[in-house]
């Protein structure tokens, strides 16, 4: 049984969610091969060979795979697909984009965002914004799965010794042209990988006030997140959103500031180890999941906390 994991990378390194997908592949059991598709991604291919538990790295370096265009990546994965019992990718926006396309072309019902492996054909996944956990069994010959980034312990990106196979197949549908991107630059740890996160909600009142959180974040080495209310109000960019439709996080410490705790927000953070809520409304639902709650005005509490750290 061979498992193909489609890696997410930035041409020079392999991104952390891929290491979680490899861990899920190990839980399934079998020979694990990693596909690195991109343009001028030689460094990422080299980094991929170091990942623990990977036996082979497939390198597809071509203009067609630049920017992970779904139509082209899917064509490539489908061509490789028949050799594998399982095809996995992390549940990132990129994985969510091309994997269902792969599944449909293979005539397979994909299982999205698995949070547990029971057997090689049976998996657990959250439904209804994480308010229920379903155990599902696939009857398809090839299992196409995306893996929840917080559900498995990432494998090490060191110590592996995989061989490299260069692929020459070129899939270019020409259906989509990539124009440009606006990537939000920040020096903080990535939200999905951070061990401490401090998030702000509507209670922050405006974007400038998020600098209050940054002081605490700096001292704790934390990432800064936000609720949908804060994003929709234009306080902060959408890539900071934690929740059912944003990023799913599970840090050691999650500090929710001025966030009421709607179902959709809890879906993105309630697997955090320790949850702290700072809110002046003592009836806010966030207090029902918080390990430590402080009923206070955030504009007093956050600066005080900053000073104490």
């Amino acid at each position: 049984m061979s498992i193909l994991v489609v890696a997410e990378h930035d041409n020079t390194s392999i991104k952390a969610p891929t290491l979680v997908a490899v861990a899920a592949a190990q839980a399934i059991g079998g020979d694990i091969e990693l596909l690195v598709a991109g343009k001028e991604c030689g460094d990422a291919v080299k980094a991929a060979t170091q990942i623990e538990g990977v036996s082979k790295v497939l390198s597809a370096d071509d203009e067609a795979y630049n920017h992970s265009t779904a139509e082209n990546i899917a064509g490539l994965v489908v061509e490789l697909g028949e050799n594998y019992s399982h095809i996995l990718s992390p549940t990132t926006t990129s994985g969510k984009n091309f994997m269902p396309r792969v599944a449909a072309l293979l005539d397979v019902q994909q299982i999205s965002d698995i949070s547990g492996v029971i057997t090689e054909d049976t998996f657990e996944r959250p439904i209804y914004a994480g308010n229920a956990i379903a155990t599902v069994q696939s009857s398809d010959a090839t299992k196409v799965l995306t893996v929840r980034g917080t559900a498995f312990d990432a494998v090490s990106d060191q110590g592996g010794d995989a061989e490299i196979e260069v692929l020459t197949a070129k899939h270019d549908t020409g259906l989509t042209v990539w124009n440009n991107e606006e990537i939000v630059k920040q020096d903080r740890p990535e939200l999905t990988a951070a061990s401490v996160i401090i998030s702000g909600g509507r209670g922050m009142q405006n974007g400038e006030n998020f600098t209050l959180l940054e002081g605490v974040a700096d001292k704790l080495g934390a990432a800064v997140g936000a609720s949908r209310a804060a994003v929709d109000a234009g306080f902060v960019p959408n890539d900071m959103q934690v929740g059912q439709t944003g990023k799913i996080v599970a840090p050691d410490l999650y500090i929710a500031v001025g966030i009421s705790g709607a179902i959709q927000h809890l879906a993105g953070m309630k697997d955090s180890k320790v949850i702290v809520a700072i809110n002046k409304d003592e009836d806010a639902p966030i207090f029902q999941v918080a390990d430590f709650g402080l009923v206070d005005d955030l504009f007093k509490a956050v600066p005080a906390m900053d000073e104490m750290l």
Binding site: N97, D113, Y128, N179
Partner: protein
């Protein structure tokens, strides 16, 4: 051009769902049902394109039991022109829905198909991508901005690091993200008018689509509960507990 939008009937987003005690699923009896919020955004976008003179007709399709008619009527009240219901009592999974939608696409020949990026019940985020694959169309998922031009659409997508803009050839499938637009409310006169708009009904058999589920749900359980926490009185106490009790800072 003609735009096809899909609307799924789901448990209203405000409802706290309850897992059935026999662990076969989620209790849907006497629970408020609505149009999936992402599909409302899809309908709104299609109606705006019609109002801007870019689209001539907006057709709304729903796949499921006969009561999905309610969600089609909602879409008609929001400005869609007519409805298509593919009626089935089978449990419909994304691949089967995509196959049914492909058959509808072949009948209707839309230039643009707009779906929600995910349904808030199954949280799969698959149907749009699968439909695009089966039709051989281009796809633009998680759209926060759509600009339709001659023969193509420029779509801004929400991706993990920020935003990216792509140009897709029409016909294309677009899936909506939350920030694409703010859906309108249906007015009473429009709700009355929507009752007169036509809805065509098909069965998957008539469309020659095999909708047998590929994935079997063995059980559904509630997530593990978090133990109740404590309320601290001061910031000092909070920081002390995080340092010495929880040992997370």
């Amino acid at each position: 051009m003609k735009i096809l939008v899909a609307a799924k009937r789901v448990v209203d987003y405000n409802v706290n769902i309850r897992v059935l005690s026999d662990n076969t699923g989620v209790d849907l009896n006497n629970v408020k049902m609505s149009v999936n919020p992402f599909d409302e955004i899809a309908i709104e976008e299609a109606v705006r394109l019609k109002e801007a003179g870019i689209a001539e007709e907006v057709v709304v399709v729903s796949v499921g039991a006969s009561n999905c008619q309610e969600q089609i009527r909602t879409a008609l009240a929001l400005g869609a022109d007519r409805g298509v219901l593919v009626e089935t009592d089978e449990e419909m999974q994304p691949l089967a829905i995509a196959k049914v939608l492909k058959a509808v696409v072949e009948k209707e020949q839309p230039q643009l198909i707009i779906l929600g990026k995910q349904a808030i019940d199954g949280d799969n985020s698959q149907t749009g991508q699968m439909l695009a694959a089966l039709c051989g169309f281009s796809q633009a998922t998680f759209a926060s901005e759509i600009e339709v031009k001659e023969g193509s659409a420029v779509v801004t997508r929400e991706v993990d690091g920020g935003l990216e803009t792509i140009t897709v050839k029409l016909p294309a499938v677009v899936t909506t993200d939350l920030r694409l637009n703010e859906p309108r409310y249906a007015s009473l006169p429009n709700i009355m008018k929507a009752k007169k708009k036509p809805i065509d009904t098909y069965s998957p058999d008539e469309l020659e689509v095999d909708v047998t589920p590929r994935v079997k749900t063995l059980k559904v359980v509630p997530p593990s509960e978090r133990e109740a926490g404590i309320v601290v009185e001061t910031v000092e106490e909070l920081v002390d507990k995080l340092k010495n009790e929880a040992k997370v800072i």
